[in-house]
């Protein structure tokens, strides 16, 4: 019941005048934690991504995080809350790996290639097999029955749509797409391509094939109106 990596001992600047806030090290009072919440949440996320909510027991989570059940409960709340926090964590990580690609200046085609490469990295990672996209996994399971979770999923879906849409709008302004191109429609195809590779990755379709799908989709998206 102990996590591998010990708290990195970086917690040793007395920090006088300690505000109750977690500035530096406010010298917490009681028994120190035997785990790092961040890495525990990461382990929980891994499990949920692989197995889904219902198929993952608290014992599974306890074993994976190295925290026993009451600690888990104290740190994250009940199973559903832990799932929600895991999902938020996933969204943050996914966004972090994409935001740079969306921000930097580069040709449309290259941007799309990089985004899909990053997506594939996320979906195909995992020691025990590819784990797909957590948004898609959640949509397929908890989203129908749980309004709060559904709202988060919806937010994730539309967030991606918007990011792609602004990406195509910019490309159009820069003349990379013809006037007739519809950024919103293209964005939905781009999102759909994300979704299809997320699903196929769970069926263990090999990366090569997923990359071929991506390439075909990109060709269509950037090629609209430019041929024939």
């Amino acid at each position: 019941m102990v996590q591998k990596s010990k708290p990195p001992a970086a917690a040793n600047q007395p920090e006088r005048r300690g505000e109750p806030e977690r500035r530096g090290q406010p010298k917490r009072r009681g028994r120190p934690r035997a785990y790092e919440p961040d890495i525990a949440l990461g382990k929980a996320l891994d499990l949920f991504r692989k197995q889904g909510f219902a198929a993952t027991s608290l014992d599974d989570l306890s074993a994976a995080t190295g925290m026993n059940r009451p600690s888990l409960y104290g740190a994250f709340g009940d199973k559903r809350e832990l799932y929600i926090k895991s999902y938020q964590r996933y969204r943050e990580e996914a966004a972090a790996s994409m935001v740079e690609i969306f921000r930097q200046e580069m040709p449309l085609r290259q941007r799309l290639e990089r985004i899909y490469a990053a997506a594939l990295d996320i979906y195909l990672s995992g020691d025990t097999g590819p784990r797909g996209c957590f948004t898609v996994v959640t949509a397929a399971s908890e989203a129908v029955g749980d309004p709060e979770i559904r709202a988060m999923v919806l937010d994730g879906l539309t967030g991606l749509d918007k990011a792609f849409a602004s990406c195509f709008r910019r490309a159009k302004e820069k003349g990379e797409l013809p006037e007739s191109a519809d950024p919103v429609a293209l964005a939905q195809i781009a999102s759909a391509t994300i979704h299809t590779i997320a699903i196929r990755s769970r069926a263990r379709v090999p990366r090569k094939e997923l990359e071929a799908i991506v390439k075909g989709a990109i060709d269509v998206m950037v090629g609209v109106g430019t041929r024939a």
Copy 2:
């Protein structure tokens, strides 16, 4: 523990020379069933589609089908087998609702419109909310861990790809698409569009929006190379 619709009493032709086969009514020997396997399987499918495998208990299934657990077990095997049979049933129904549209002669655009309309009917049906596509639901949950189920999912995915591909190939032969169009790439976009509306339907995106997505995708697919 009794299903609504009684066995439709149509079972009353003595059928002499009864082979053991279920030709007509071989006059089964023991106590008659109190349920119809077909409608019970349908109810089980409904539940699995809504809740997924892990979140659906045998008690749920027992209540929904009107069969008690031993009968359920006797008729379909254990929970996993019942899930598999439910999925096969789903595939048969889905295929049945599509096959005519793929077979009949009609313009590409109309064919696509009809296919997506049929898909939306399937995904959005359900008294307690939309249930999405069972292939997608299964891909997102059981497919990673269960090789047999994964194979079925894969078969479902590629089946759709192939149907779309042949659809675009025919359209190209009929001159509805330019020579430069790539039927396989278009098919993958068509499949991706199916997947994206399946996922979004689970997030309760209203039908109007899904139809807008479909329309945009169709415009791109049939419009490749025909504008500008």
